[in-house]
Symmetry: C2
Subunit: 335 residues, 2 copies
DNA sequence: GACCAAAATGACAGCGCTGTCAATTTATCT
DNA sequence: AGATAAATTGACAGCGCTGTCATTTTGGTC
């Protein structure tokens, strides 16, 4: 039924090895031969057996995506990006959630990777900063690409976005709109991006000589609920900011929700900026001005780096991909 | 470095084949032998090479999840369920998005499956009702389990939930709360579940002899935006329903949003019911009363059915999993 | 203890492919 | 043309495991 490399070889009148060469784009095959083999392969609907190929070459044509409970939106996008890259190269993506909370998590990863011979691994936060997991990957000598790691330059390539710069741009945008009294809601203290976004905010404020009112800088944890709490704090007093920059969309949604309850109209009386451009941003009323992270692109690039590793020399150790400030209806000029 | 079955065999003083038997839980191995082998395997941190195993046994220990652009939340949950089932059985999950819109989609699936020797496939809507794709799977003789197919009994097991019953329960709940003037927002006309949910609504209304006001049954397409449009239609007139059942949470969110804009308080003046229990349902203010679909469970069961197919005779052709009515703050008794 | 069936174990081929290296053909240069 | 180098091709082993089937061991019976 399903044709093998031998069938193609016979039909094309060459050896198995030559067929193999053609199919793997190896050099040193006469053009004519290559074409003939390709023709026959197509005709026979031949496609190589992954297991056999893997066994013989000790490659698996499989990439794994390890993640620990991020937002569905985040993983969906990373996945899509990675898969598209895989598909262009006849690779496939295996996904493996890991619960870092559990004490057995590290061992689970260990077992997993010993059993499943993947050619490379994409690590998303917060896994990409877990020492134990990195140690295992090192021991197993499996190539990996961290997405948005806290620390770079571990001798492996990584992909990321510039959180500082993005937060800077959002802050700058709000300032340009005439706002002077800016509030900021921080992200989860354990999450690497939180501090970076705050830094961007601070830098932009400093750049124009605006003072940061510490009462308007409130802790949050990326959840809607924490956004609500923060907003209540920020908006209850008479002296309140005219613009609030929340470190992610969920918290920005919390702000919008509180504002509407307090009868503060957005954006007329209060501008709100988010971060992430989740689907929520467009569902909300008003729609959120936010930062679109290059999530898809990071997944895509990460997979590509694993499939075709750059040579040692011209290797860029960290690929920073472009974000985008998306202006919608939750912000307006200060009147 | 990495130990092979031969290492284990030598160390345990048995043949490779016996080790193989133990590792695959085959019968006819003396208890003592089994224990010894297991002990040695553990000691050597042995784990079988998937490729070799696949080549020899023509099994891959891989399951594929095919999906076409569903909500991130939906696939995230299906995935998690399927993966957990896989993990219990040393299987892995490969995910493959398919864009049915593209004309090449069917061919893409074809190629995909010829190349990747998966042991089974999980099909999510709307793929599970696509004739072309089902035809390919039939030709390739790959076992598959459709999740929530429109039509059952294609000689394969399937998993689903009872949309009719769930919608019936939500409607019944609203009626029990004292509501008599019920509005309904339909889902996307091409989506199988839309009609079923509407049927449940109709049946519950009929069951208590309530008449359905066709002006209060509005078309939607599962998007937030369509919920907004529908709500505007339903709420603008003086004679408006006191409760609205939207076919999913996004549309329910649209209703809540419009109500708040029109100064209609939820749930005091208007009860709103949703469907899906997406994260959004808890982010909204007020939090949505909704139906929790057994998405995780469907993914889990689907994977299990592929890993351990029930015998022909006692096979249940369709496994219907339990949903749950979740009462939150968007509904209240009619006052 | 001799005999037989059943249980346990092992020898060996081969799954479909690629790596190695040797053999052959073609191109290049005096 | 002859010699040498380069390009192209092929023979064959073997990747690590499992299926088949033969062999050995065990347990039970008279």
């Amino acid at each position: 039924m399903k044709s093998t490399i031998t069938d193609v070889a016979k039909q094309a009148g060459v050896s198995m090895k030559t067929v193999s060469r053609v199919l793997n784009n190896e050099p040193n095959v006469a053009k004519k031969t290559r074409e003939r083999v390709l023709e026959v392969a197509k005709q026979l609907r031949y496609s190589p057996n992954l297991a056999a190929r893997g066994l013989a070459s000790s490659k698996s044509y499989l990439l794994a995506l390890l993640y620990d409970n991020p937002s569905p939106n985040y993983i969906a996008n990373i996945q899509k990006g990675a898969i598209d890259a895989c598909r262009n190269n006849r690779y496939h993506l295996v996904i493996e959630p890991v619960s870092m909370g559990e004490k057995s998590a590290v061992e689970a990863v260990d077992l997993l990777l010993e059993r499943l011979p993947v050619d490379g691994i994409i690590l998303t936060p917060p896994l990409c900063d877990d020492e134990d997991i990195l140690a295992i990957l090192g021991r197993l000598k499996i190539p990996y690409v961290p997405v948005a790691p806290a620390v770079e330059g571990r001798e492996v390539s990584s992909v990321k976005m510039d959180d500082v710069q993005a937060a800077y741009e959002m802050t700058e945008f709000l300032i340009r709109q005439g706002h002077r009294k800016l509030g900021f809601i921080k992200g989860h203290p354990e999450h690497n991006a939180s501090e970076l976004r705050y830094q961007g905010f601070v830098q932009a404020m400093n750049a124009v000589g605006l003072e940061i009112n510490q009462e308007w800088v409130v802790a949050g944890d990326f959840s809607f609920r924490s956004g609500v709490a923060a907003a209540e704090k920020l908006l209850s007093s008479a002296s309140r900011p005219t613009a609030i920059f929340a470190s992610n969309d969920d918290m920005a949604a919390g702000v919008v929700s509180v504002a509407s309850r307090l009868g503060i109209s957005v954006p007329q009386e209060l501008s709100v900026g988010g971060f992430d451009d989740t689907p929520l941003a467009q569902i909300l009323y008003p729609q959120l001005t936010t930062i679109k992270q290059p999530i898809y692109e990071m997944g895509h690039r990460a997979a590509e780096l694993l499939i075709r590793p750059p040579n040692e020399d011209d290797r860029l150790h960290s690929y920073c991909l472009d974000h985008k400030l998306i202006v919608r209806d939750s912000t307006s000029e200060k009147n």
